[in-house]
């Protein structure tokens, strides 16, 4: 065939690849623009909060108190620190890395240190070389793990990602640390380079994470972490030999077994595979439903559909609502319309079930789906969400009451019923047998925004409680000592 015969087909074959330089330029711009917009957004939010505060006499007083305290202690409340700016550059490099190689020295109590070399090919692939010669290859995208045992010429294949490997995935772990703050811990010479140290801390978290970075390149050169695993065992990890964007051959991450190796599937017999397939298929259905919900919300000013039937009217194939794990059910999934404000961890969809079995798929408001094995964990999550929502409603009713009553809060929560609050809001979802599910402390005037005014009634502490503050926010507090501190905090008003 002559080229002129099919010019259109030929034009479709044109294919150029964007250069690494363009990638870097765009990624840098993305980072810079979003950093800027987040700053503006937070300033805008602060302004809105400020307007809201200044509408009410009571919150005006509280705001005045905060200003006095801020000025008194010389705190630049709204500013960002130099540490954050410098560390942001380090994080930017971590975020933008296409490949990474590094060495971890891992020390557990009463064990010899283990030296593990790791290679990462973003976004999904990781290769871990263990000291005993075994190699683990993990594909996060496909959710597969391959173990190469060269001594026994054997491969072990698992169709689920192995949690044990998370320990070696230093940078993915780093990217996923939520809400941390950064402090500069000074300089130190590491391998002849003057490095700057940043310590990352989180509220109610004893784990220690220190990043030593080259101030010239803003690249991390050493990372030290001391964390506790699920069993409370302390694990110390030191990451060195960190190389960014080295050329890594794709073949290093191949998930098919080499020739001459025997294969073993750890997921067991066929039935288990079929079961897993159905589970995955159901999760895929749920992702589709969540996607449609998100699209619906996007077209309706953030409002989610009232029921899944609304999606059918918008051409969601009805068979997606049938759970392949329980095809006999007409409605395979339970939908909970999310309330506003939406938190990313809010449960909005889960598999309908008569008995718990090995677990259920649960869908969250941000569109992701997780398989939850423990029923208690799932039930408590639902109840905790309802508890926090009820407490927010109570606080809001109190604040509105105060606005209508010259800044005076109600003497008891009973005063809010029924005009401002439904009676069942005061029943604690986890402890419905209690008459009063929440303890209310009428705030003394003048009011400090951080004054505890409401908390869950409890006999024992358990894993924590929700606590409501005078400024109308609710926080889950894990440590009892922190809660007691908040309760006893003097009212900082001058």
């Amino acid at each position: 065939m002559r080229p002129a015969d099919n010019i259109n087909e030929l034009i479709k074959k044109l294919k150029l690849k964007a250069s690494a330089d363009l990638d870097k330029r765009v990624h840098d711009d993305i980072y810079a623009a979003l950093a800027k917009s987040q700053k503006t957004e937070s300033a805008r939010t602060e302004l809105n909060i400020w307007r809201t505060i200044m509408k009410s006499r009571i919150t005006k007083l509280a705001a005045a108190a905060v200003i006095i305290i801020t000025v008194f202690f010389g705190i630049n409340y709204f500013g960002g620190s130099m540490e954050n700016v410098a560390f942001a550059k380090v994080m930017q490099n971590i975020q933008n890395a296409r490949t990474l190689t590094y060495r971890n020295v891992i020390t557990r109590a009463s064990q010899d240190p283990q030296v593990v070399d790791t290679m990462v090919l973003e976004p999904h692939l990781m290769r871990v070389e263990l000291p005993d010669g075994r190699v683990w290859i993990l594909d996060h995208g496909e959710g597969k793990t391959l173990i190469l045992d060269s001594t026994n010429k054997q491969t072990i294949i698992s169709s689920t990602p192995q949690k044990a490997l998370n320990l070696y995935d230093t940078f993915r772990n780093f990217r996923n640390i939520p809400d941390f703050s950064v402090s500069n811990i000074g300089r130190r010479t590491i391998d002849g380079v003057q490095a700057v140290g940043f310590q990352l801390t989180r509220e109610n978290d004893d784990n220690v994470r220190i990043v030593w970075a080259n101030p010239r390149t803003s690249l991390p050169i050493r990372i030290e972490q001391t964390v506790k695993d699920e069993n409370g065992q302390v694990i110390k990890t030191v990451t060195t030999n960190i190389i960014f964007d080295a050329d890594l051959d794709q073949s290093l991450f191949r998930l098919d077994p080499p020739k001459g190796y025997t294969q073993r599937f750890v997921d067991g017999p066929n039935e288990r595979t079929v079961k897993l397939e159905k589970r995955v298929q159901s999760a895929s259905n749920m992702k589709q439903i969540l996607l449609r919900c998100i699209m619906y919300a996007s077209d309706n000013n953030g409002r989610w559909p009232d029921s899944l039937q609304d999606l059918i009217q918008r051409r969601l194939p009805s068979d997606i609502l049938i759970n392949p794990r329980q095809p006999e059910r007409e409605n395979g999934y339970i939908y909970i319309k999310p309330s506003i404000p939406i938190s990313p961890q809010q449960v909005v969809l889960y598999e309908a079930h008569d008995s718990w079995g090995d677990g259920i798929n649960v869908g969250f408001v941000d569109g992701h789906v997780e398989f939850i094995e423990k029923e208690s964990m799932f039930r408590n999550q639902l109840k905790d969400e309802r508890t926090a929502k009820n407490m927010l409603k109570i606080l809001l009713a109190c604040i509105v009451y105060a606005q209508d009553n010259k800044g005076q809060w109600p003497d008891s929560l009973q005063e809010l019923i029924p005009r401002r609050l439904a009676r069942d809001t005061l029943i604690h979802p986890r402890r419905p047998e209690r008459e009063n599910g929440y303890i209310y402390i009428k705030p003394s005037t003048p009011i400090s925004p951080q004054q505890v005014v409401l908390y869950e009634a409890h006999d024992s502490w358990g894993d924590g409680i929700n606590v409501g503050y005078a400024d109308g926010h609710v926080q889950f507090i894990k440590e009892e000592s922190n809660f007691k501190n908040d309760l006893q905090k003097p009212i900082e008003v001058r």
């Binding site: 080229p3 479709k12 044109l14 294919k15 150029l16 765009v26 623009a33 917009s37 998100i294 996007s298």
Partner: protein, 181 residues
């Protein structure tokens, strides 16, 4: 389409990974489109970069009405047209000093990238007037409808279809000529 909707939803909420996802998904097509319009890989990358800078700046107010691919292709076509105009003005000013063949289908970068057949096509595309080339590339490569191209270029649909036919005829004759050599 669904995936794009989700990416845009996250993008509106300032999610950096969503932006990266959009860029990674569309970058090669956009660079190819711009390079086919401008015959210059380096200028093409500048255009794609500019498009993404504008796109990033619109993050919170951006609303997708059609397809994301089509939207980005339109942006690239508009920027390429402006760049081409600016280049023409510059060339008319510095005609004596300019080296118009600095980046063309015989340049090392094109030679390295394309097969002989595609190099011939790239060379032939260069010989077309810009308006005809733009219609042909937007329709055949980006799959854009004539009606959309007409709205974009502020001309009638008949003009666009005419440009497309002329472009195809010229390409045929040029490529036939090359093939006979």
């Amino acid at each position: 389409m669904l995936e794009d909707k989700l990416l845009i939803w996250k993008f509106n909420r300032g999610n950096r990974n969503a932006l990266r996802g959009i860029y990674e998904k569309h970058k090669d097509n956009l660079v190819t489109l711009a390079a086919a319009l401008l015959n210059d890989v380096s200028s093409a990358e500048d255009v794609v970069h500019d498009v993404f800078v504008s796109f990033i700046e619109s993050s919170r107010k951006f609303r997708l009405t059609g397809s994301l691919k089509g939207y980005l292709a339109t942006c690239v076509a508009n920027k390429s047209r402006n760049k081409n105009k600016a280049k023409q003005i510059h060339q008319s000013i510095t005609l004596d000093e300019a080296n118009p063949a600095s980046a063309n289908s015989n340049s090392p970068e094109f030679r390295a990238i394309f097969s002989e057949e595609l190099r011939q096509l790239s060379w032939a595309l260069q010989q077309l007037p810009y308006e005809q080339r733009e219609v042909l590339i937007l329709h055949s490569y980006s799959g854009m409808r004539f009606k959309t191209i007409a709205q974009q270029q502020s001309v009638s649909i008949n003009t666009v279809q005419g440009r497309y036919r002329y472009a195809l005829d010229k390409l045929r004759s040029m490529l036939d000529g090359e093939a006979r050599k």
